[in-house]
């Protein structure tokens, strides 16, 4: 049954510019040649990891704007989000730019959410140029959600590693670049997973929900896309998603990949792979967008997933609600 979650854009806003940044651990990724800037030190001359995360965000926004041959004041709105409490990285980064700021919290789904919201605003003609950005930092996220960095504890086998990285895309109706043709906003889905160390399993049902709804609403099948890419389900989450989709009659084949699953190498011992808003932002704004520009992929379904938990909710024993937003990028 079709639902009101999908928007088919009439003007098809274009991604006229994008920029990505990655941390030192991510520099070992097989996708590293596509990253615009790789940091040698994850503190990046800042006093704290929170400040480093903010600096990363400022850097990607500024450079994406510059790459589009514009000034920050040419941008009509900045749509931004991150993982830290009260999305401080985004709001504090927005201080640097004298532009309208729309802060989002979609956990790790922020990249897709900001692009979907941005595409709506640009498509409707309310704004001409919109910057959509997000970033995450392993060390700032780890201390907020989990344990001190230097604690000598063992990570469970389902754990994922928060990506230090970020990305920014500039949307506009004029200019050249891949188009955003469709967006499907997700519903919050909760299958009662309570283990905060098993995000993939918590988010997979929401990815399934949004994906199926997207296929129904747009009357497409997985085979219609050159690439279907999910955000940070990780190895386990991606396997679960494939099973869930098969159970519902959709076969995800060779054209499916998960950013979290493939961002790190096996030798890096991250167990299930990467997570965090930086994970999908980094991959989208580097490898994926470049391959679309090179026409290797002409139609990409990008679904970023988020686990909407807080430390308070997990300590109080609540289950983890998941969210997934999808956009279609076409040449």
């Amino acid at each position: 049954m079709s639902s009101k979650q999908t928007i088919i854009f009439k003007n098809q806003p274009k991604i006229i510019s994008s920029y990505s940044i990655a941390g030192p651990k991510e520099s070992y990724s097989v996708f590293a040649p596509y990253f615009d800037l790789v940091l040698k030190d994850d503190l990046w001359d800042c006093d704290s990891y929170e400040m480093a995360e903010r600096k990363m965000l400022e850097h990607v926004i500024f450079n994406a704007i510059e790459r589009a041959k514009m000034n920050p004041k040419d941008i009509d709105a900045l749509i931004c989000g991150d993982l830290l409490n009260q999305i401080i990285s985004s709001s504090f980064a927005a201080r640097k730019f004298d532009v309208t700021y729309i802060g989002l919290f979609g956990a790790c789904s922020t990249m897709a959410e900001s692009l979907a919201v941005g595409a709506c605003l640009v498509d409707a003609g309310y704004f001409d140029k919109v910057a959509c950005a997000t970033a995450s930092h392993f060390s700032s996220v780890e201390r907020q959600f989990r344990m001190p960095l230097e604690l000598g504890s063992q990570r469970p086998p389902t754990a994922q590693w928060t990506v230090t990285g970020g990305g920014c895309s500039i949307l506009s109706n004029v200019g050249k670049g891949p188009k955003i043709t469709t967006a499907t906003f997700g519903k919050v889905v909760d299958y009662n997973i309570t283990d905060a160390n098993n995000m993939g399993a918590a988010m997979a049902p929401s990815a399934m929900n949004t994906m199926i709804q997207h296929f129904i609403n747009t009357n497409t099948t997985p085979d219609d896309y050159d690439l279907i890419v999910t955000g940070d389900l990780g190895k386990l989450g991606a396997e679960i998603l494939i099973d869930l989709m098969e159970y519902n009659g959709y076969k995800l084949g060779q054209n499916y990949m998960d950013c979290g699953h493939c961002i790190y190498t096996n030798e890096q011992n991250t167990f299930m792979g990467g997570s965090g808003c930086g994970c999908s932002a980094l991959m989208l704004n580097s490898y994926i967008i470049q391959k679309i520009r090179e026409k290797q992929y002409n139609k990409v379904l990008f679904i970023a997933t988020g686990a909407l938990l807080s430390t308070t909710s997990s300590f109080q024993g609540e289950s983890i609600p998941g969210i997934a937003h999808a956009i279609v990028i076409e040449n």
């Binding site: 344990m147 960095l149 230097e150 604690l151 000598g152 504890s153 086998p157 009662n192 997973i193 679960i240």
Partner: protein, 151 residues
């Protein structure tokens, strides 16, 4: 299918998919590294007893504990301890080294929020429950000892 049934089925399915911890190798690592720490402690104690004639075994044991606590804190500060702990598991947590690391690591982590509200108040976020339970357990055992001793 109602929601509870769906969630129960999903959780059971996820449980079957989760990769299991390799128990046997991790037991070996914990045993070997934990054992090395114990040998180190014993070495400190025996060395002290051999050097200082007047030292009692109790005093030497205290110094051995202090030495291990210092070493674990130092390695935590150097950023090495978490790498050892990731392999050793209980091997480094169970000896006094784990306790030392659990206090030193949040102290390092939260010093950016200031001495009082950062370091001092967050220092015991990991070790705090251990101390509370240790104190409570000692009271309970003490009471039992007292009651049994009265008869």
């Amino acid at each position: 299918m109602n929601k509870d049934e769906r969630n129960a089925r999903y959780n059971a399915y996820v449980e079957s998919k989760i990769p299991k911890t390799h128990n046997f190798p991790s037991l070996i690592y914990a045993f070997v590294i934990g054992g090395i720490i114990c040998i180190l402690g014993q070495t400190i104690k025996d060395t002290l007893l051999a050097i200082f004639d007047t030292m009692t075994p109790q005093e030497a044991s205290n110094w051995a504990s202090i030495g291990l606590i210092f070493l674990a804190s130092l390695l935590t500060g150097l950023g090495v301890f978490d790498d050892i702990g990731a392999i050793a598991g209980a091997g480094t947590i169970v000896p006094i080294t784990g306790f030392s690391n659990s206090i030193a690591s949040p102290a390092l982590e939260f010093k950016r929020e200031g001495i009082i509200f950062g370091m001092c108040s967050k220092m015991f976020i990991v070790a705090g429950p251990v101390i509370v339970n240790g104190v409570v357990a000692s009271i309970v055992v003490g009471l039992i000892y007292l009651i049994i001793g009265a008869f």
